[in-house]
């Protein structure tokens, strides 16, 4: 119900741009997490900067809503469609309809199982690469010392959990001094991160044996930081903390010296998407089928306070 209200409010707000501007339809999954809210906010900002008329539709986690939104975009004759698909399968027919109407479709953030011919390009991050950046930071910062790492996994079986773990392991593979000694799922939540970290601390001599923490997302890292503080361990110094996502609160933790590094999963998927579309509209340049967003590493040296300020109002 609430989401419907939000969606209605969003629907009312479009149509402000100039008549001559390009019109782009955006079918968003929903607003299930802060990151997705930020993605929506940034997409609107990017569209406004470029003078693009953005038609927004919130699918409330339902594929049928997304498909009907896309059909509606096609009927309105938009110039392009951005799609953040809620699931990977079942898109063929609606993508074919878009193709017949000669409307390019750009996938944001997630992939689909349909043929590559049916969409212009996909913009997204490489989850394995994110894990590799985090692992590489650790390799660069521990030198030759022995380092026992504890890992907070995402939800068991989810693709970010599997791929980020794989990337991290790839990065530390050559360093025999770095070893993952404990790995458990914290379900991507703060509570989960805190509870699991408490058990790690119990099991590893009150934290004395732990040199670093790798968390598959920032929220678990924030929970774990609280667990360490309560147990008298100094996060950021006694235990190095590296995580992935780049939510505002982790920058605050870095500013306080509690976290060491985060790998940003940028919510700005729309920027590269609009760039590719502009090139396509201007001279028909066909972009590569996958545009990888930058997985940028932020550390305490990167003015985390300013990064926090820049992000706090994006809706995280």
């Amino acid at each position: 119900m609430i989401k419907t209200l939000l969606a209605t409010a969003a629907a009312v707000s479009f149509g402000a741009a100039a008549a001559s501007a390009q019109t782009v339809g955006f079918s968003q999954i929903g607003s299930e997490s802060g990151w997705r809210a930020a993605e929506t906010t940034l997409t609107r900002q990017q569209a406004e900067e470029r003078g693009i008329d953005l038609k927004f539709s919130d699918a409330q986690q339902r594929q049928e809503n997304q498909i009907s939104a896309m059909r509606s975009f096609i009927a309105q004759g938009v110039d392009a469609i951005l799609l953040a698909p809620v699931v990977a399968t079942g898109w063929d027919s609606v993508l074919e309809e878009a193709q017949e109407a000669e409307i390019p479709v750009v996938l944001l953030d997630r992939q689909v199982d349909s043929s590559e011919d049916l969409y212009l390009t996909a913009v997204g991050s490489d989850l394995v690469h994110e894990g590799e950046v985090a692992g590489q930071w650790l390799v660069d910062n521990v030198g030759d010392e022995e380092c026992r790492v504890v890992e907070l996994q995402g939800t068991t079986g989810s693709s970010p959990a599997i791929k980020r773990k794989q990337g991290f392991e790839n990065a530390i593979e050559g360093s025999d001094n770095i070893e993952i000694v404990r790995s458990q799922t914290g379900d991507f939540t703060r509570t989960g991160g805190k509870e699991v970290m408490e058990s790690f601390l119990q099991a590893e001599d009150g934290g004395g044996n732990i040199c670093a923490l790798f968390a598959h997302n920032d929220d678990m890292a924030i929970g774990a930081i609280q667990a360490m503080k309560e147990a008298g361990v100094n996060p950021g110094e006694d235990v190095k903390v590296v995580s992935i996502d780049g939510v505002p609160d982790i920058f605050r933790a870095m500013a306080d010296g509690d976290a060491n590094a985060t790998v940003e999963l940028t919510p700005n998927m729309a920027g590269p998407a609009f760039d590719a579309l502009n090139a396509y509209w201007e001279d028909g340049t066909t972009p590569p089928k996958f545009i990888q967003t930058e997985s940028r590493l932020y550390t305490q040296e990167d003015d985390p306070e300013a990064e926090y300020e820049a992000r706090k109002d994006l809706g995280y």
């Binding site: 802060g34 068991t156 404990r182 458990q184 939540t189 703060r190 805190k194 119990q202 609280q226 609160d249």
Partner: protein, 342 residues
């Protein structure tokens, strides 16, 4: 042997067996140390981490005793946690934060109770409404993000301790004792059991079952409010998406492991609390034992299955027989002679 001990004996034995089992995989399990003015150790973690489920189980026990069920407690937790975080950020102070959370919990209970007792909707359906909608309400309060706060007073309810004992533990023990005293020292317990067993006969006996039902759901909402406060204070933020997620199921499981029938009637809050501790011992034990996380749910399910089978109506009489043998059987002889006369 006192009746209370006798009632919770299966749960105590289960807990002891589980602790022994975890000790095999994690030898330091029972070790408790005193450092920095606080008790530290896996057992203390269990007593602390089990707080939300234990708190929910208190209210859930009462609801189940009336032959109802409250699926909305997880969502209510999220709402109440969001209320407390919002109130503290908005400058209402600690009293305001706790007050708003408790009010929200009571309001949620009033809503459920009214649907069940006044409109006659089946409890599982009535509370399903808030279970689904509640998280949306919580998200509305937190505006969809994790609403963090920095207030030592409120955080104390999650991570503080008094005389070394963690606050969450003190809260669930205290609330459990208070509610148990309330229902057993007054006639509430008897009246709740009566409407759970036979609501129509109880109403005919003059019990105000409608008001009593609403009160029971409000008690459940109140307990969920405290669970929400503890969970929110613990991570210093209200996570509307995840706070209390699926905990209603753990709470129901705790009540069932506590030997309370889902068909209502006789209940024991102490046994439900032990049930909550049994679940938390399994959870913490799995984490400490260091198995790959893919095994967590399988191990938990297997242990719960074993516990429930051991307590099942077909096996439980064996426990009861042992207990009776200890009590002696003067009643049995009298029973046969008097009933033979019919």
């Amino acid at each position: 042997m006192p009746r209370v001990i006798q009632r919770v004996l299966p749960q105590l034995l289960t807990l002891a067996a589980l602790m022994a089992l975890v000790s095999v995989f994690f030898p330091d399990f029972l070790e408790i140390t005193y450092s920095d003015g606080r008790l530290v150790g896996p057992v203390i973690d269990i007593l602390k981490r089990g707080a939300p489920v234990a708190l929910l189980a208190i209210g859930m026990t009462l609801v189940i005793a009336t032959r109802g069920i409250d699926l909305s407690v997880g969502a209510t937790m999220a709402i109440c946690g969001a209320c407390s975080a919002w109130a503290i950020s908005a400058g209402y102070g600690l009293a305001g934060a706790l007050g708003f959370a408790m009010l929200a919990g009571l309001a949620a209970g009033l809503w459920n109770g009214a649907l069940v007792a006044v409109f006659g909707i089946q409890p599982i359906v009535a509370t399903l409404i808030l279970m689904t909608a509640g998280r949306g309400v919580a998200q509305l309060i937190t505006e969809g993000r994790i609403l963090t706060f920095n207030h030592e007073g409120l955080a104390f309810f999650g991570s503080g301790d008094i005389l070394g004992v963690p606050m969450p533990t003190l809260i669930w023990v205290l609330l459990g004792v208070l509610v148990a005293l309330l229902v057993r020292r007054t006639a509430l317990g008897l009246l709740i059991e009566a409407i759970g067993i036979n609501r129509r006969a109880s109403t005919l006996a003059g019990i105000n079952s409608r008001v009593l039902l609403i009160a029971v759901y409000m008690a459940s909402g109140f307990c969920a409010a405290w669970a929400g406060i503890v969970a929110t204070a613990d991570i210093r933020g209200a996570d509307a998406n995840n706070s209390g997620l699926w905990l209603e199921l753990d709470a129901i499981l705790a009540v069932v492991i506590g030997g309370n029938s889902l068909l209502g009637g006789r209940f024991s809050i102490a046994a439900s609390l032990l049930g909550a501790m049994i679940i938390q011992t399994i959870d913490t034990g799995i984490l400490l034992a260091g198995f790959p996380s893919e095994f967590n749910l399988v191990i938990k399910a297997a242990l719960v299955l074993v516990i429930l089978v051991l307590q099942s109506p077909n096996l439980a009489p064996r426990f009861a027989r042992i207990a009776r043998r200890r009590r002696g059987t003067p009643a049995a002889g009298k029973l046969t002679t008097r009933e033979a006369g019919e």
